[in-house]
């Protein structure tokens, strides 16, 4: 049973009625075409109404839907063949980040991304998709490998944050994230980053420095999760919906700010409703942007990557007026 959000309930009920009516028509051979057409029309209007007017926090909830495609789902949908590589060569294999080499429409690519589990057992094995330092170290190792062999890199980003644990701190979580960000910035091979779900702070940025940064329609990307922001501002994580508004974490905002390059539309109602359609859509975007960055000579690519981040920031040479 797919999780249904409160705001979708009227639509889901209507869709159920339409399905029932279809079954009724088929079983009894009664002509209800007019009624059906009207219901379909209403459903269409309702769908538009609901999904085109999602609040930022509803989008955050969509990004967290348990049936949303994961990195491994995208890999199996999009790559012709793929081999997963394991381990950071130092400590352990972190199941919260997967990576490896495969071919995308014939071109060898390195693919890296956090991996959430589908059920409790898998989630425990994957630490709910919250990476430890060794996960980021594995990501970095695979990026260096891609650089050596001149392979483009695709990162799928869906991580609420790097794991805040005792061992994670002992093994240098902050330090490893810094190294990832720095090294990724200078890697001499094309990098395409796609925020597929949650883009949570440094844990997302650690695999999010690239030549093109794309984002799914119902994904979010922010310096802090809405819950944590609400806790800091009002000591009340239940006010996360309000914090989500303030943080401007939606694809539309980030496109306007020049943080991302494009928004990948999802099947109506969200990626979880139709993995196959999501996959096709994703494929078209990857094809287009990968071709674009693979054409650029690598020296220029790295220079442009650095210039892009160098330009980000809003400040003035005058003090901010208070009544602004």
């Amino acid at each position: 049973m797919t999780q249904v959000f409160e705001w979708e309930r009227p639509l889901v009920e209507l869709e159920q009625r339409i399905a029932d009516l279809h079954r009724f028509v088929a079983d009894h051979g009664i002509d209800c075409e007019k009624e059906l057409a009207e219901l379909e029309h209403r459903a269409e209007r309702l769908r538009k109404d609901i999904y085109e007017n999602l609040t930022p926090f509803q989008r955050v909830m969509m990004a967290r839907h348990p049936k949303r495609p994961t990195t491994l789902d995208y890999i199996s949908m999009l790559l012709d063949e793929f081999d997963e590589f394991h381990g950071d060569r130092t400590y352990r294999d972190d199941g919260a980040i997967v990576g490896g080499v495969g071919t995308f429409e014939g071109t060898p690519v390195t693919v890296i991304g956090p991996q959430k589990g589908r059920d409790t057992k898998e989630n425990l094995a994957r630490n709910f998709g919250l990476p430890h330092p060794e996960g980021y170290r594995k990501a970095l190792r695979l990026m260096k490998q891609a650089e050596k062999f001149g392979r483009p890199i695709i990162t799928f980003i869906d991580v609420v944050g790097a794991y805040p644990g005792i061992q994670a701190e002992e093994r240098g979580q902050g330090l490893v994230i810094a190294q990832c960000i720095e090294e990724m910035s200078f890697i001499r091979t094309p990098i395409l980053c796609i925020i597929t779900g949650e883009g949570g702070s440094g844990g997302a940025l650690a695999i999010g420095v690239g030549d093109r940064i794309l984002m799914l329609e119902h994904a979010w990307y922010s310096v802090i999760s809405p819950e944590m922001c609400a806790t800091i501002l009002w000591r009340d994580s239940a006010r996360a919906p309000q914090a989500a508004e303030l943080l401007r974490l939606t694809p539309a905002d980030l496109l306007k700010f020049g943080i991302i390059d494009d928004v990948i539309t999802e099947p109506i109602g969200g990626a979880h409703r139709d993995h196959a359609v999501m996959g096709q859509q994703m494929r078209a975007f990857i094809r287009r942007y990968l071709a674009e960055i693979c054409k650029v000579p690598v020296d220029r690519l790295v220079e442009e990557r650095l210039a892009r981040f160098r330009a980000i920031g809003k400040f003035t040479t005058e003090r901010m007026p208070i009544d602004a």
């Binding site: 805040p164 979580q173 310096v223 809003k314």
Partner: protein, 285 residues
Amino acid sequence: MLNVFRSKPKYVTVKRSEVEQRKELPDNLWTRCDHCSQMLYNKELEKEMFVCRCGHHFRLSASQRLNMIADEGSFAPFAPLYAADPLNFPGYPEKIQAAQQLTGLDDAVLIGEAKVFDTPVILGVIDFAFIGGSMGSVVGEQLTRGFETAVDKKLPVVIFSGGGGGARMHEGIFSLMQMAKTAQAVGRHSRAGLLFISVLTHPTMGGIYASFASLGDIILAEPGALIGFAGPRIVEETTRQKLPPGFQTAEFALEHGMIDMLVKRPQMRAAIGRLLRYHQRGGRK
């Protein structure tokens, strides 16, 4: 070494009055140590560089720190920049103004050219009193300019990244991106074969620890400083485990191989002087 400083017309001495306005060390005669609860005579405390007899290092303002490290009168700050409010975040302009009034700073970093034992450096200090020493666009830009100036003039960089409460939430994604921007600035400076000494003082956390501060050629820390990625309370709440004693202290970071040396405050200037001397001839290129 380059002689660019001698031709510089003006040196700025950081005003004492800024220091005296600080609430952390009240104007009365005595201060209680947060660590051992001992009452300390303020004049004595100042002479001891705000280190208690128990070893506790009090938090310093940026200008106090600067005065302890730079050669007297040698500091020439960069042109000031001020925060914008890119998200129209409620209360942010007021917060900035209050922090400016409290600290006398433009934003959370004080950075410029200075000399340490006659060696020209780019010297930057983050101040906790300015919104937790968090990194927004101004801090990110000033640090980046610091590394860029250092590349142009072939200078070492010394940053005291203590006071780093992490990212500045009020600037949202712009704040997060300063992590990439500053890390890249360090990367360019490093690739030019130049030295970056990162000094972690209390507290260096979150987005500051997970970007430029971790990327020093040499990483020093003051004893007792809190150093880490996730805050201790978050770690405790997430893991529901009791934190080990000394968790995320500088000593803990040293033990786990994350920093090069612990340096007590009274020895800090001499240590930096020594490290600069070892690297006097510069690196490759």
